[in-house]
């Protein structure tokens, strides 16, 4: 079921893109990531809108007053918050739903890239068993589209990387390889988390958010460091596209990244 609905279509689309754009798997991963991001854009847009509404609410006078008033009565506070959400037309879980819907897509994409990059017998066997001819037949009117079986083995070289291996750049005089892509993933994940994480309100929630803003980029960086660079490339491109999406839809400005959010939250209501 999972294979038929997610993995096979993803793998065959990846192969078709690879077929169409010059048989370079790195470029295929980039184009495929852009394609998936474009398809899931309405979900992202809704998520950003909901997150922004929640962030704005936390700077609302009614909200801040309520926090002060019921600071010793958690049940009453929760009840009052729900009433305020209703009054303002905010659905607090609307920001979670798009994430939940995207989750299988992200996992499927991750698995598809791993399976497509395989260069050992078991991996190639798995890849071959998932090839369907219907998609390439559909595009057979394009002269560049070949039989997908003829694409194997795929060209995994992209820039300085073998996409099936972890990324390391060796510089003369430095005794170890530098994981350039992993460093890029850490930086872009950090920026992305900083932009999307809600600010203000509950200081404990802020503390947890702050921890997430540190640990999540490190986790993503660890994945990019230890897994094949094809996946690291996917993480990197995905982060860059997300940053563009947030900037375009959430009206974030670069200076927001360098502001202290707690201070921001406290200053605004009194302004």
């Amino acid at each position: 079921m999972w294979d038929s609905l997610i993995i096979k279509p993803f793998i065959n689309t990846l192969l078709l893109i690879y077929n169409l754009i010059g048989k370079n798997f790195g470029v295929a991963v980039i184009v495929f990531t852009i394609l998936i991001k474009a398809i899931t854009h309405p979900l992202i847009a809704r998520q950003i809108k909901s997150t922004k509404a929640m962030q704005d609410l936390q700077q609302d006078e009614d909200y801040l007053e309520m926090q002060k008033k019921y600071k010793n009565d958690k049940d009453r506070l929760a009840q009052a918050q729900m009433e305020l959400y209703k009054k303002k037309g905010i659905k607090p879980f609307a920001s979670c739903l798009p994430t939940l819907i995207q989750f299988p897509i992200i996992i499927g994409l991750y698995q598809s890239i791993i399976q497509t990059m395989g260069n050992a017998p078991l991996q190639v066997l798995t890849l071959v068993s998932k090839i369907d001819l219907w998609l390439s037949n559909l595009f057979s009117f394009i002269p560049a589209v070949q039989n997908p079986y003829s694409l194997i083995p795929l060209n995994n070289q992209f820039l300085w990387m073998d996409l099936s291996q972890p990324d390391r750049v060796y510089i003369p005089g430095i005794p170890f390889g530098i994981p350039v892509l992993a460093i890029f993933v850490v930086i872009t994940s950090f920026l992305q988390n900083k932009l999307i994480s809600p600010s203000g309100g509950d200081p404990q929630a802020n503390q947890a958010t702050g921890m997430m803003n540190i640990y999540m980029p490190l986790l993503m960086g660890w994945f990019a460091y230890s897994l094949s660079s094809g996946l690291a490339l996917y993480f990197a491109i995905s982060n860059v596209i997300s940053l563009i999406q947030y900037a375009a839809l959430g009206k974030y400005k670069l200076k927001d990244l360098f502001k202290k959010k707690e201070k921001q939250a406290l200053k605004k209501p009194t302004a």
Partner: protein, 373 residues
């Protein structure tokens, strides 16, 4: 709150370890065991070591290396010949090991990629296909004599007659090369050594990659491709005699064809066994036999019958008239080509209790072997 954060951090660490552990290539099985039998000895290449097994009783004779080494992985079947075991690993090293005691004779470390397929030893020369797009030919001391570069990885064991050696490559081509080259005729490689063969004797484009070993019989080569086509090629000229595609699209061919009593049998990745007339390439059966599971291992001749192992763990036995005998079944999957020699049928089964089974042709067990002591 602190407790929640600690749990969160721990969860992240567990997730990181799980994902990287599940997907990292190093250490994970990326192929199936290689297995070969000769002169009363079986050699199993699986994971970080190769195991020499006494075929009489299934006892372990020796293990190489004696303790597992990081990054050394063996999956290619070994070539057992003239008192040595020749086998390549996934870390670009080809080993010659004394077959009596498991002591290393020599190592060839000139390749840059994995040894996936078996090497061929002929008249003191070792023909070693490598995934780095080269066929290396080394002498009996492990010194490189010559090298032939292809355009793709080479996973298939070469075959040879008294004139040429034949190499099937994942670059879609089948090549014929001379058995030996005079150094004066060789080109210079990037290190300035005169070792490169410039031109093959002939080559033929098969359209897609070849991952299985070709069969050489009576002056013809029989080879299947990843696209599910089977070719008969004239070994002297490289001319394609016939191509078999099947009435319905064959998914892909990972098996070496097998000729028994003038009929050619091969299994397919989508689980079918085909029988063809060797001369014409016409099908003998109205429909192929379905085994219900993927076939990756080549067939084995069993006293006039043929047996095909499936990844569901069944050895399906057929005769020329498509009549089936009861299958021999073990828990696990059969990816490695079964061998029938001196009255013993050797099955290598991955994912079950034991790894190697020595059976009679009815499936009764002589012995079973596990790599765990």
């Amino acid at each position: 709150m602190k407790k929640n954060i600690t749990i969160l951090v721990l969860l992240i660490l567990v997730l990181a370890a799980t994902i990287t552990g599940c997907t990292n290539n190093i250490g994970a099985a990326s192929s199936w065991p290689g297995f070969s039998v000769s002169d009363g000895m079986a050699v199993l290449s699986y994971g970080s070591q190769i195991f020499a097994i006494n075929t009489e009783n299934g006892n372990r004779q020796w293990v190489y290396p004696s303790s597992a080494e990081k990054n050394v992985m063996f999956y290619a079947p070994a070539e057992i010949k003239d008192g040595q075991v020749l086998v390549g690993d996934y870390n670009h090293t080809l080993y010659s090991i004394n077959s009596d005691n498991g002591i290393l004779n020599w190592k060839f470390e000139g390749a840059k990629g994995r040894y996936v397929g078996s090497v061929l030893e002929l008249n003191g020369m070792t023909y070693a296909p490598n995934a780095d797009h080269s066929l290396y030919v080394v002498d009996s001391q492990g010194m490189l004599n010559w090298e032939f570069k292809t355009q793709g990885p080479n996973w298939s064991k070469p075959v040879a007659d008294d004139q040429y050696v034949y190499v099937a490559s994942m670059d879609h081509h089948l090549y014929a090369l001379q058995l030996n080259y005079d150094a004066a005729t060789l080109a210079t490689d990037e290190n300035g050594s005169k070792v490169l063969v410039s031109e093959p004797v002939w080559s033929v484009d098969l359209g897609t990659a070849v991952v299985s070993d070709p069969l050489l019989a009576d002056g013809f080569l029989y080879v299947g491709t990843i696209d599910g086509e089977l070719f008969k090629v004239n070994a002297a000229s490289g001319a394609i005699e016939w191509t078999f595609e099947g009435d319905t699209k064959i998914k892909s061919i990972w098996t070496t064809p097998l000729i028994v009593d003038s009929s050619l049998y091969f299994g397919t990745e989508d689980g079918f066994v085909y029988a063809l007339n060797v001369e014409s390439g016409d099908t003998i059966w109205a429909n192929p036999t379905s085994t219900g599971s993927q076939i990756v291992a080549s067939g084995v001749a069993l006293n006039g019958n043929v047996g095909f192992g499936t990844i569901a763990g069944n050895l399906v036995i057929l005769d020329k008239n498509q009549a089936t005998s009861p299958s021999i079944t073990r828990d696990g999957g059969i990816y490695t080509t079964p061998i029938f020699q001196d009255g013993k049928l050797y099955l290598v089964v991955v994912g079950g209790d034991k790894l190697v089974y020595a059976l009679d042709e009815n499936g009764r067990e002589y012995w079973a072997f596990s790599t765990k002591e």
